[in-house]
């Protein structure tokens, strides 16, 4: 019988990554002075399980490497050696190394053997530092038995088996033992009842019998020993070769040394015990509840189906809207709508994961960075359990990391500088996530030096981003740091790079339908706020009518809608229109004209102006503003191709297809048409 284990290999790899995360998390929280034994246990178990699985699946290098780590951890665990900061660092490096080994396996690349070797020697050096090694007895020395030369296959074995009375209490049954012996060859079994007491004294739970078994010689002694392997301490055992009538040799072995267990071949079976270890605590709130792994494809499929269901249900409701006399039908449809709505909400939630998945990268990052930069940082992560859609989660990781790096690199001062400022030596960094409205807001705030506004303004003027003589509000200056190529860092540091960071960060966040902003106070600190929609698959949309078609505008970006009044609209020399909003002139984009690509001169503005704010303002001219609804975003790219100014498409309740407009791109177009190259500075929402 052979069992296909390749499916388990994937699971092993995934679980190993998780175990590595556990190791890392544990190592980071380990207090050198007073290491928490529970934490050490967790780390040990994680390493242990990686090793076990690696061995099973033939990942020899990983198994060997992890084994060394495990031995060291075992020594720590049994308190025969202590924990030092260097040790923790080395182990963290080992974690990284194993990650790269797994990665190498995945991409079929070479494992960096030198790195492994270097770390292994370092680990071994730590080990040899112990005065008393508490190492688990290595396999090699365990076997001291002398093996019988097997030249004479004739003759047999005489096995005298005298179990101790309590042997039954361990679940062992001599009957089974003898059964196993019988599997080795022909047996003659003799039982001895010499120790059997009288009935009154007989304890039914004890064993008073012993056996002598004569086994014909077609097996090896080691095979016999194996059968008794578990029972060594609970019985007297004698194994003798039966005297060959010709040869007079008789040797009896001392069984007191544990027999070596034949090592089962590697590469066959995954390890886990029947009672599975519980999901390691990675600090994720959902750990207590049980979970199963599901292919993301299945979830996608499911969510699509639910989306279709919503549309169908909505269509049916609409068609039946006028069948008011059918009371039961209406009631049923009502119920159906409610159920479907709930189904949709729940299925969207399936893809929601706690933001901790992203947060968990941070402790390590912050630790490494603060070491490199020689800064002291005390950080706090809040709101780890805040849930976000998986698609958003994946994309928010890099921007978040970049902002944190930025904070550490530029925002936070050196301990020296902080003391001079009268601040505490350790800087405070707080990263928090929470739900606000239909969004998730992530805030990264530090008590560092804050933004140097005058310096930023100067830089912007140098770059021509800002005209000399322009008056900017503080928040407008703060926004400048998100401009491309902007960095006031005196030396470009290795860590956060050449100032290409923040603008890319902003772009990435915008592409998620979100936004990022910054506020700061000189000498006191800086706060970055990232706002993201809870899910990228569903949009709160404002339906608008343009030239006979229905389009969808994202509600998130809509500032307000106004009826067009001539008095508010100015026509520029180039024919473009602008709308007067507060003290500014906002470019108007006539959607009908834009989409129909007509060359006719600007028409008299009629209809509704929808004011869009994506950091810049534009007014979109539409014929009419219709209802608001949640729409499921369907990708145009996947089904057709990418079209500029469109963010996707959706199917409305009546079955009609509506195109979803991309607010950012619309605003950009509006500005381009106006011939505005520089970005007018706006207060960010």
């Amino acid at each position: 019988m052979s069992i296909d284990i390749s499916q388990f290999q994937e699971i092993f790899i995934e679980e190993s990554y998780e175990s590595l995360d556990v190791m890392e998390a544990g190592l980071l929280t380990l207090d050198v002075g007073e290491p928490d034994s529970e934490v050490i246990n967790n780390i040990f178990r994680a390493a242990h399980s990686i090793k076990g699985g690696a061995g099973t699946f033939g990942f020899e290098e990983i198994a060997a490497f992890t084994h060394v780590q495990e031995s060291l951890l075992e020594a720590v665990r049994s308190k025969s050696r202590g924990v030092s900061a260097e040790l923790i660092d080395t182990l963290l490096q080992c974690v990284d190394c194993v990650r790269s080994m797994l990665e190498a396996n995945r991409t079929d690349a070479e494992i960096d053997a030198d790195r492994v070797l270097a770390l292994t020697s370092q680990l071994e050096r730590y080990q040899s530092q112990d005065s008393e090694s508490n190492e688990v007895v290595p396999e090699a020395t365990a076997d001291e038995r002398q093996e019988q030369p097997l030249d004479d296959q004739t003759g047999g074995w005489k096995v005298v088996f005298k179990p101790y009375p309590d042997i039954l209490a361990t679940g062992n049954d001599p009957y089974r033992v003898i059964r196993e012996l019988k599997r080795l060859g022909e047996c003659q079994v003799e039982v001895s009842t010499e120790n059997l007491p009288d009935l009154e004294e007989l304890d039914p739970e004890k064993l008073y019998l012993s056996w002598t078994v004569e086994l014909d010689g077609s097996c090896e002694e080691s095979e016999i020993r194996e059968i008794f392997e578990w029972l060594e301490d609970d019985c007297d055992l004698e194994i003798q070769r039966l005297v060959d009538p010709v040869e007079g040799e008789q040797v009896s072995d001392d069984f007191s040394v544990p027999a070596k267990v034949p090592v089962v071949e590697v590469g066959k079976k995954p390890v886990d015990n029947v009672f599975q270890r519980d999901v390691e605590d990675i600090g994720i709130a959902s750990v207590e509840s049980s979970s199963i792994r599901v292919d993301t494809e299945k979830i996608e499929h499911l969510i699509n189906l639910v989306g279709e269901l919503v549309i169908t249900q909505s269509a049916i409701s609409q068609y039946s809207a006028n069948l008011t006399e059918h009371v039961h039908l209406q009631a049923g449809l009502q119920q159906l709508a409610s159920n479907v709505h709930e189904l949709q909400e729940q299925s969207m939630r399936i893809r929601m994961l706690p933001i901790d998945f992203v947060f968990q990268r941070l402790p390590r990052l912050i630790r490494d960075l603060s070491n490199t930069l020689k800064k002291e940082v005390q950080f706090v992560l809040k709101g780890k359990e805040t849930e976000v859609d998986k698609t958003v989660l994946e994309k928010i990781s890099d921007p978040l990391v970049h902002i944190v790096r930025n904070a550490l690199d530029h925002g936070i001062e050196s301990p020296q500088e902080r003391i001079e400022q009268g601040k505490s030596e350790k800087a405070a960094l707080e990263i928090s996530a929470k739900h606000e409205g239909g969004n998730i807001v992530i805030s990264i705030s530090d008590d560092g030096r804050g933004l140097d506004l005058p310096s930023i303004l100067t830089k912007a003027q140098e770059r021509g981003i800002v005209e000399e003589g322009d008056v900017l509000t503080d928040s407008q200056i703060e926004e400048l740091i998100f401009y491309p190529g902007f960095s006031t860092a005196r030396e470009v540091s290795d860590v956060s790079g050449r100032g290409v960071g923040l603008d890319v960060v902003k772009q990435n966040i915008k592409s998620l339908g979100g936004d990022v902003s910054v506020t700061s106070s000189l000498g006191e600190g800086t706060e970055f706020r990232i706002k993201l929609p809870l899910t990228m698959a569903i949009l709160d949309g404002q339906l608008v009518q343009v030239g006979g078609e229905v389009f969808v505008l994202p509600m998130m970006n809509i500032e307000k809608s106004v009826q067009v009044r001539d008095s508010d609209v100015n026509v520029l020399p180039n024919g473009q229109m602008v709308y007067r909003f507060d003290d500014e002139y906002v470019p108007i984009l006539d959607l009908d004209q834009f989409f129909s690509d007509s060359l006719s001169p600007a028409r008299r503005p009629e209809g509704i102006l929808v004011l869009i704010d994506t950091g810049k303002l534009a007014a979109i001219l539409v014929d009419d503003v219709l209802s608001q609804q949640q729409v499921v975003i369907r990708s145009l790219e996947a089904n057709f191709r990418r079209i500029e100014t469109l963010a996707g498409a959706t199917i409305l309740g009546d079955g009609a297809v509506a195109l979803i407009l991309d607010a950012n791109e619309l605003v950009q177009v509006a500005h381009n048409l106006q011939g505005i190259n520089n970005e007018p500075l706006r207060k960010v929402s």
Partner: protein
Amino acid sequence: MVSFTLQRAGYQVVEACDGAEALELAQTSDGVNLVVTDINMPNMDGISLISELRKLDSYRFTPILTLTTEGSSEKKLAGRKAGATGWIVKPFDPESLLATIRKVL
């Protein structure tokens, strides 16, 4: 995955995620005929689980096997001292696992 092999071979398997849960499950309905346990577990480790099981009437003579890694003889002995029937060494292949299981059932 141990359960997978066992189930494929026709055994009914009940899983627990740690010693504490195992102890609970062992006492439900008809109980089990064989217990296979890891040593390193949170909440209640294998050794404790074995001692606890042996205190129960219905489990005094039930075969209990521990999963250990090669070479950790102290673990094996500790298991036996606590009352385990024997052990299975990791990593193992399905055939060996089943052979061992057959030995105790």
